[in-house]
């Protein structure tokens, strides 16, 4: 696997609480992405970053925010978790926009 770690790997939380997921890379890749994976929907882009402090929204960004203060870390925050945000979250990195390398995923359950 490319040098990508995600933390935590599993989390159970309650509706209305804030949640932060972390993606850490050791590859010094420029681009970082957050996706969610749900049955019947495939992988949907939440937010992405094309450099430190440079981020943009994906197709399902409502209820999520991101930050990238250094090259190696990309944080995804659920400001007030809802049950509809129960999902598996994947971080991905890429140097160009060709090949994306995915992390191992975080399984989030919102009760």
């Amino acid at each position: 696997d490319a040098g990508i770690t995600q933390s935590p790997r599993h989390k159970v939380t309650e509706t209305g609480t804030p949640v932060t997921l972390r993606c850490h890379q050791t590859e010094n890749h420029r681009y970082m992405y957050w996706y969610r994976q749900d049955p019947g929907h495939g992988l949907r882009l939440i937010h992405y970053s094309y450099g430190v402090k440079d981020t943009d929204k994906g197709e399902v960004s409502d209820g999520y925010s991101v930050s990238r203060s250094k090259t190696e870390d990309f944080l995804l925050t659920l400001e007030s978790a809802t049950s509809s945000q129960t999902s598996v979250y994947f971080c991905a990195i890429s140097q160009s926009t060709d090949t994306q390398y995915f992390g191992p995923g975080t399984r989030l359950t919102v009760l």
Binding site: D56, G58, Q100
Partner: protein, 110 residues
């Protein structure tokens, strides 16, 4: 809005068979078409990719066929093996984003 349509949703083949997974797109700005393979509990991994100026690409037992005029592309797995059992995603890229299909769960029966 689903910009990349993938079918079938699931597929069961016998060992040695040739599963075919199809994808269609509408956005002519897509310029790179990768396929990803995902095993249970793992993140997706790039399997093979094609650019629209090529009609076919082979890597080992995996072949992409690309029809630019029809805006369709497909993945063929020759001599499929039980170890190929996984979920396969097609995708299409514009400048900074990749749009994924909904995935096909393939099971290869020994």
């Amino acid at each position: 809005q689903q910009q990349v349509k993938q079918s079938p949703q699931s597929l069961i083949v016998q060992k040695g068979g040739i599963p075919i997974i199809n994808c269609a797109y509408e956005n002519t700005a897509f310029d790179y078409f990768p396929w990803y393979q995902q095993f249970p509990g793992k993140g997706p991994a790039l399997l093979i990719a094609i650019r629209p100026d090529v009609s076919e690409k082979k890597e080992g037992r995996f072949t992409i066929s690309f029809n630019k005029s029809a805006k369709q592309f497909s993945l063929h797995i020759m001599d499929s093996q039980p170890g190929d059992s996984a979920t396969y995603f097609c995708a299409a890229r514009t400048v900074q984003k990749v749009t994924f299909g909904t995935g096909t769960k393939l099971q290869v029966i020994p």
